[in-house]
Amino acid sequence: MTDQATHIVETAEADRGYWSANVRIIIISLVIWALVSFGFGILLRPALSGIAVGGTDLGFWFAQQGSIIVFLALIFFYAWRMNKLDKEFGVEE
């Protein structure tokens, strides 16, 4: 095998590793995304009704405020984590 061919194979493998690491981060983020909105904000609201927040309960807070704050945190976390991952795998621009 020539050096160049070895290089191509190595790159392809590194790219696959990069992609599966990315998919893992996406899945974790989307679980949190669904948990705060569909979970705490809607479906699990009755279970959280015991926790009082400013005249109402925690579920209402998540539905009207909390989920938006978590969404923001998720996007910035993802951007930061991926830019780091790009460098770890040497695939940055």
């Binding site: 392809a12 790219d15 990069y18 992609w19 990315n22 998919v23 996406i26 983020s29 989307l30 995304w33 909105s37 569909f38 904000g41 809607i42 479906l43 609201r45 927040v53 400013g54 005249g55 109402t56 309960d57 209402f60 807070w61 539905a63 009207q64 405020q65 989920s67 938006i68 704050i69 969404f71 923001l72 998720l74 996007i75 910035f76 993802y78 951007a79 991926m82 830019n83 790009d86 040497g90 695939v91 940055e92 621009e93």
Partner: protein
């Protein structure tokens, strides 16, 4: 100076600013017209995207829908922000890496099929046009109020302004103008909210005031509101009354639709690097969140203010008298809004009082009759779309705040309408005419056809905007359903699966679009013509699924059909698999190429 002159002054000054910027940044080439030459900083891009995104639906309509329904309409808040998570994680960086100008170009290349590209164009035009109808509804409300004319004249004037404005520049003009529009709209939205929050809760931050204490009574604001509206027979504000399944589906449809709307996705083509596309999505949501964290406070506080105005001595006292509404200065807003035809009241039982309560609730009707206020609600019309614009008047704020809000509402509607028209025109001229019908077309010819496409889209939207299928935010929700069912799945599968082939993608997009469109037309009338519907959203065809919530099901159909059809047909060629692999890694993302 009277209110009318002040409104004109604010609206006029903001328009002069936008037009000035548009002239300064006039688009010279097709590349600048579509994608601003890709030299836009992530923060700037985020701000412009936020203005592009936050439309009449967010600015004018959303708080009103939340105010009159409460918790059950939280779907708008979660749906329209949660979609950015999908966009940032699943689409934006890869589409930037791909590096072309339009969404349909990606679909055409990834699914190596001219048919796929044209189907994507059709999906895009259907979704965007529906969206523009919602904008026109909002534009009509805003112009109707500040020019003190009927809603219909307001709509026609608005259409002319939107047209002149959108045809002027392309993306480059639009990007910098939209930064200015964002500043105008966010100031206009937050200033009255801060005033009202101070009045009611003593807190200058509305988002904190919402969960704070009602200064006059010492009770928590939301508890006070719950008790007051319940006394009048309405649903408690913070309680969950809506069907849970429909609420989940509706929220999901808005989220997926957000990530599938071409005019938002296009924005991420204009940043210099893949890393910037990721940051840019975050910045966009920061700027959107400033409004979205304020909106629920605006809704709750306005509901409390309006209810207390209609019942100045509390729900067990006397209702406001017709005489007070006509005579007292703090009720002037009711007379001004009556002129637009969007607000009305009538003393049905002739007792001189205007009693506002839920006359569908038997217990409350009995209570009101016993008190002598009659059996019918006498605040006969309160269009949800006027709430935000009327809010500063309701709270008796200074006239310059009212002028500012008029300018802000128009900025929101104009910026989104312009962005959508740009998406429609680029789809027609770049993808349909240059890409399929006449590849030899000159740059001038392409720009001309782009402008003609804009004119046609705006004419259709204005015509349908005269009889909108719902309040601005509800019409817009339909557009999201269509985008969710057609475009988002195709883009996501194009990136995350090498297995989906040309036939699968085309079949999936068509199935998603057609089924969703059918479901909407069955409930909202064929082509939104009133009276031609077979079902209503109060009693929908499928269980509790309203037409606005169907997008998520349409998306599932799209995914399913694409998967099954791809499994039965030829495998994706090797060069397309290589294209997908290359889109997945940022390395080598150069400037975008034209072709």
């Amino acid at each position: 100076m009277d209110q009318f002159t002040i409104n004109l002054l604010f609206v006029g000054a903001s328009f002069a600013l936008y037009i000035g910027i548009a002239i300064w940044a006039r688009a010279g080439s097709t590349s600048e017209f579509y994608a601003a030459g890709r030299g836009v900083h992530p923060v700037t891009n985020g701000m412009a995207t936020a203005a592009d995104w936050m439309s009449a639906a967010s600015f004018i309509s959303m708080a009103g829908l939340i105010a009159f329904t409460g918790y059950d309409n939280s779907s708008f808040l979660m749906g329209w922000t949660g979609g950015y998570v999908l966009l940032a994680l699943l689409l934006a960086p890869y589409l930037r890496k791909f590096g072309k100008f339009t969404v349909s170009e990606f679909i055409g290349d990834r699914f190596y099929s001219q048919t796929a590209r044209i189907v994507a164009v059709v999906c895009l035009i259907v979704a965007s046009t529906t969206y523009v109808i919602g904008q026109m509804t909002g534009v009509g409300v805003a112009f109707g109020r500040f020019l003190e004319v009927s809603n219909t004249s307001g709509l026609l004037i608005g259409a002319c302004v939107v047209f002149a404005y959108a045809v002027f520049g392309g993306m480059k003009g639009v990007t910098y103008t939209q930064v200015a529009q964002y500043c105008v709209l966010i100031t206009a939205y937050t200033i009255p909210a801060i005033f009202i929050s101070l009045q009611l809760t003593g807190t200058p931050i509305p988002a904190l005031g919402l969960f704070g204490e009602h200064a006059a009574s010492g009770e928590p604001l939301l508890a006070k509101l719950d008790a007051l509206v319940a006394e009048l027979g309405f649903n408690e504000y913070t309680a969950h009354h809506a069907d849970t399944f429909n609420m989940v589906l509706f929220t999901l449809s808005l989220m997926i639709g957000t990530a599938g709307l071409p005019h938002v996705i296009m924005r991420f083509f204009t940043v210099p690097r893949v890393a910037d596309a990721r940051w840019s999505a975050g910045w966009t949501l920061v700027f959107i969140a400033l409004l979205y964290l304020t909106a629920p406070a605006v809704g709750a506080m306005a509901r409390l203010n309006i209810t207390e105005m209609m019942w100045p001595n509390g729900a067990s006292g006397e209702p406001v008298s017709a005489e007070m509404i006509e005579g007292e200065q703090r009720y002037d807003w009711m007379a001004t809004w009556q002129k637009t035809g969007l607000l009305n009241w009538e003393d049905k039982n002739g007792d001189g009082k205007i009693a506002y309560f839920n006359d569908k609730d038997a217990e409350t009707v009995a209570k009101m009759e016993a008190a002598g206020w009659g059996s019918e609600n006498e605040l006969t019309k309160f269009n949800r779309d006027i709430l935000v614009l009327a809010n500063p008047e309701i709270a008796n704020l200074p006239s310059w705040v009212i002028g500012l809000v008029a300018a802000g509402g128009l900025a929101a509607a104009l910026s989104t309408a312009a962005g959508l028209l740009l998406a429609i025109s680029s789809a027609v001229s770049h993808d349909l005419i240059k890409g399929a019908i006449n590849p030899q077309i000159s740059e001038r010819g392409e720009l001309l056809s782009a402008r003609i496409a804009m004119a046609v889209a705006i004419a259709v939207a204005t015509y349908l905007g005269l009889n909108p299928p719902g309040f601005a935010a509800q019409t817009v929700a339909l557009a999201f359903g269509l985008a969710a069912a057609s475009i988002f799945p195709a883009l996501m599968m194009g990136i995350f699966s090498t297995r989906i082939n040309n036939t699968g993608a085309v079949a999936g997009m068509l199935a998603g679009l057609i089924v969703t469109l059918l479901y909407i037309f069955l409930h909202k009338g064929w082509f939104f013509v009133p009276g031609t519907n077979s079902f209503t959203d109060a009693d929908p065809l499928l269980g509790t699924v309203k037409s606005t919530s169907f997008g998520a099901i349409g998306a599932a159909i799209n995914f399913g059909v694409a998967y099954v059809v791809s499994g039965m047909t030829k495998e994706t060629p090797a060069e397309i698999k290589a294209l997908v692999e290359s889109v997945r890694v940022p390395r080598g993302a150069g400037a975008a190429q034209d072709h």
